[in-house]
């Protein structure tokens, strides 16, 4: 049981790291601001989600796990909002870079 949970943790956190790596690569390589925004939010959403799933078996009790999930939800919320705001400002002023 413990071994299976550890395996799940390692697998989920590794997969999450891959998303962060891909997001960083996209941030550096994508041609325009909107595409870069897209890769960035994907890394936050899925990458952090997978990392949190991986950390859940290691959390201190149910409350600790819940806090991890709340952290993920809050990051989602702020990430999505900031993404929208940046995209709006790009639409208003036109792409600069």
């Amino acid at each position: 049981m413990n071994f299976a949970l550890n395996l799940l943790s390692v697998a989920a956190i590794s997969a999450g790291s891959v998303f962060f790596l891909a997001g960083t690569l996209g941030l550096l390589r994508f041609p325009d601001a909107l595409s870069r925004l897209h890769t960035l939010t994907k890394a936050d959403n899925v990458g952090l989600g997978l990392v949190v799933i991986g950390l859940l078996p290691l959390a201190h009790g149910v409350l600790g796990g819940l806090k991890l999930v709340v952290v993920w939800v809050l990051v989602q919320l702020s990430g999505a909002t900031v993404g929208q705001l940046i995209a709006q400002s790009i639409r208003r002023t036109g792409p600069t870079a």
């Binding site: 709340v70 809050l74 919320l77 702020s78 999505a80 909002t81 929208q84 705001l85 709006q88």
Partner: protein, 314 residues
Amino acid sequence: MIVQTLDIGLAALVLTLAGWTVLAHATFPAVVSYVAYGLLLSLIWVRLFAVDVALTEAAIGGGVTGVLLIGAASKLRKAALSTTERELTPPLRWAIAALCVLATLVLATIVLSLPDPPPTLAPEAVQNIAATGLGNPVTAVLIAYRAFDTMLEKCVLVLAVVGVWSLASDRYWGGAPGAPRAVTWDGALTFFAQLLPPLGILIGIRIFWIGADEPGGAFQGGAILAAMWMIIMMARLADAPAIGERWMRIALAAGPIVFLGVGILGFVAGWGFLAYPAGFAKPLIIFVEIFMTLSIAATLPMLVAGPPIRAPRP
């Protein structure tokens, strides 16, 4: 081994970002990298097991200072369009750079010449903590052992707001800073500003409350409460209060006044200036901290809101 490598990587990243912030040509990129620098610095504090400092660095160094600087940068950009910007002459630039390098070298020399192990009061702080009724030695230092410093810090915050307000022109004195409440709302920011504050207020109060025994406290909790108010004002869900409002001025001054009042009470009652009576220390400390949290939650948003730009209502 892996952990050491990560630590060295983190330190190298912070130093690179610091250099980049200094050398950045435009104001806005410099501000953005400064915010990132503050957040990475808070990770370093976590690695040094100073979670209280990490929380403060993330909230103040990254968050509030970041908002203040972004506001300043965007105002500078508007100002640069109307007036011709006067560049610093190269000799002056080099003189400033040389002074900064000198300050860095002096600090580095001092840090590197500390005896090993460095002198510490940590054992004494932990030994006497039972007298305060607190479990978190950092809070005990802030509110009991070094109460005088913390009290003065709170006074400085109020003075900072007075400084910002003093930039107001005469006809706006007593009026409100910032844009008025929007007539219609839409978009992501409004949704965010409606959704987040209920949760944020809970988290802020909890961080303040657990500060007695765990990392947290008046400053960190107050900063989170302040952030919630800032979001509401930025989304223009509510008016920024006029600076002449009595309740606002009371909220700003309540922290230092109650702190000083309790301090003087100790002087009169005989247990000492800014000290707490044995057996009744913790309730008194929490009483002071409640008002300090309130003042911080009021001060930081008013600092960000800036000087009043609207005439007071008659």
